[in-house]
């Protein structure tokens, strides 16, 4: 069975919990005391991931770090529909990789701002917030033009891909880093669509979609 080294309040760990829930696959959780215990910097954990970062998974003897890399692996191996990571569509794979890298940029900015405000990390908060706004502006515009063309998701497919999962958590948690989303209406509509994907689960700090349109 897949083992996820997990911290509840980590958006990067949540990416994997989300995909596994969408795919309906079981996993075992090893809780890591990321805060305040800094267990991800402990000697035993550094053997698993020398970068000292969450998440990490173990599956069939394979140890893998980095949320985006793990999304690629899990979707390739466990999604029989082939939709979350369509391995036979080069253009789409290129787009997905582009947005997976973009998601890491969201981690470096929006997540850093949240770590600064909530967990007292010593980061340049103004730079983190400004960086997040710059990325949100780019994504909002991309999603807005997509909507004009009838595209609901980040990549050019009629269904969500792992790029949507990778971008979602730290956008949803951005307000905890003092980054409001009221100026990004297309992002807000997309977040709502993500929350309505069958199998969606929340993490602490993320709430389910409102009931208003649940029946639609």
């Amino acid at each position: 069975m897949i083992t996820l080294y997990d911290y509840e309040l980590s958006g990067n760990c949540y990416k994997l919990r989300l995909l596994m829930s969408f795919l309906g696959i079981d996993h075992k959780t090893v809780p890591i005391d990321f805060y305040p215990g800094r267990e991800h910097k402990s000697e035993w954990f550094l053997k698993l991931n020398p970068l000292g970062q969450l998440p990490v998974i173990e599956d069939d003897g394979l140890i893998l770090r980095d949320a985006q890399a793990i999304l690629v692996y899990l979707a390739s191996k466990y999604d029989p529909s082939g939709k979350w990571y369509p391995r036979d569509n080069p253009a789409l794979l290129g787009e997905i990789s582009q947005w997976l890298a973009f998601a890491d940029g969201i981690t470096a900015t929006a997540s850093a701002a949240r770590l600064h405000d909530a967990l007292f990390y010593d980061f340049d908060i103004d730079a983190a917030r400004a960086g997040a706004h710059r990325l949100f502006r780019i994504l909002d515009e991309h999603l807005w033009f997509g909507e004009q063309q009838g595209r609901d998701w980040i990549c050019s497919a009629a269904h969500p891909t792992i790029a949507d999962i990778a971008c979602f958590p730290y956008i949803m948690l951005s307000e905890e880093g003092g980054i409001p989303r009221q100026d990004y209406p297309a992002i807000r509509r997309w977040c709502d669509r993500v929350k309505r994907i069958k199998g969606f689960i929340v993490m602490s700090g993320v709430f389910p979609a409102g009931p208003a349109r649940a029946a639609a």
């Binding site: 911290y7 509840e8 309040l9 809780p31 890591i32 005391d33 805060y35 305040p36 215990g37 267990e39 405000d117 909530a118 967990l119 007292f120 307000e175 905890e176 003092g178 993490m203 602490s204 700090g205 709430f207």
Partner: protein, 296 residues
């Protein structure tokens, strides 16, 4: 924003950090009531707190006259910018040897201390915010309970609180009707007692101690003092962090951020019985920091 001039608040003990997270001898920097403070916990466990200054790199360089009042209690360092009372409010259960005593976490929250206390006292949000843990629909009703302001102890006491909880603690094995008692023994601190799933004659103790950074930002220190022989520390912490992580966005979206003390300021739905008592108690004390005082 002007620094704090509220003498009631200045004269209180305030928490500034968890002793478990303060490496012995290392200087920690923090903020209390808009003042930069430094503190250090000695190898003997005794804390020293002072107003941060560039010429002092450690407690031994701070003359006794420049040190702030300091004490260790309930696993935290406490200090005061004024003349604090001789004693901190009691939590007798903390001394019981079979309890697990943990700082679940210290979180920065963009909220005033009184708003955070009020949310802590409110059981009505359990099913909606802590769904399937501390509450679940259709069990949404807050049943009648008692609130008093205890004059001799100078604290608020809410008793006979009951709520159906699917997963009351890490030691739970299913849903149960849980009894609660809430105390507010300090304007910015609250202690709750809830039925223990492992011993029906005793209660788990969970406290929230708010360190006011300024009127609209706090560090929330979460103390756990619970009965659970089986769960690892990190599992107990994770449970409480999950719950607090759910409260956080709710707290940060409160408007106005300071707590209005005028009884007509907010609808009774938001301000239930214990909240009304809390607001009245703060008014009677003359607290002005972190609140919007009632018009005279």
């Amino acid at each position: 924003m002007a620094k704090c001039s509220d003498t009631v608040i200045l004269n209180l003990w305030h928490p500034v950090g968890a002793i478990a997270e303060a490496a012995p001898g290392a200087v920690q920097e923090t903020v209390l009531l808009e003042e930069r403070l430094s503190f250090q916990v000695g190898v003997d466990g005794e804390p020293v707190v002072w107003r941060s200054r560039p010429d002092a790199r450690g407690a031994d360089q701070v003359p006794a006259a420049d040190r702030l009042p300091a004490r260790g209690a309930y696993g935290y360092v406490w200090t005061s910018l004024g003349s604090p009372p001789a004693d901190l409010f009691p939590i007798p259960e903390y001394a019981e040897p079979d309890r697990r005593r943990l700082n679940a976490a210290t979180f920065g929250v963009n909220v005033s201390a009184p708003r955070a206390i009020e949310n802590f006292l409110d059981m009505g949000h359990f099913p909606y915010v802590h769904t399937d843990i501390l509450g679940a629909e259709p069990h949404t009703e807050v049943k009648e309970y008692d609130v008093e302001i205890s004059v001799d102890r100078d604290e608020i006491l809410a008793t006979r609180c009951r709520f159906f909880q699917p997963m009351a603690s890490t030691a739970s094995d299913g849903g149960a009707d849980v009894d609660y008692v809430y105390r507010v023994p300090h304007p910015y601190c609250s202690v709750l007692y809830k039925s223990s799933p492992v011993d029906e004659s005793r209660r788990d103790v969970i406290a929230i101690f708010l360190q006011p950074l300024d009127q609209e930002h706090v560090r929330a220190h979460l103390l756990l003092c619970v009965l659970d022989e089986n769960s690892e520390d990190k599992v107990i912490k994770r449970f409480q962090q999950t719950i607090f992580g759910q409260d956080k966005p709710i707290l940060e979206n409160q408007f106005p951020k300071r707590l209005p003390l005028d009884p007509r300021a907010e609808t009774p739905i938001r301000a239930d019985k214990s909240a009304i008592a809390y607001r009245r108690w703060l008014s009677q004390k003359g607290v002005t920091y972190g609140v919007i005082p009632a018009a005279a």
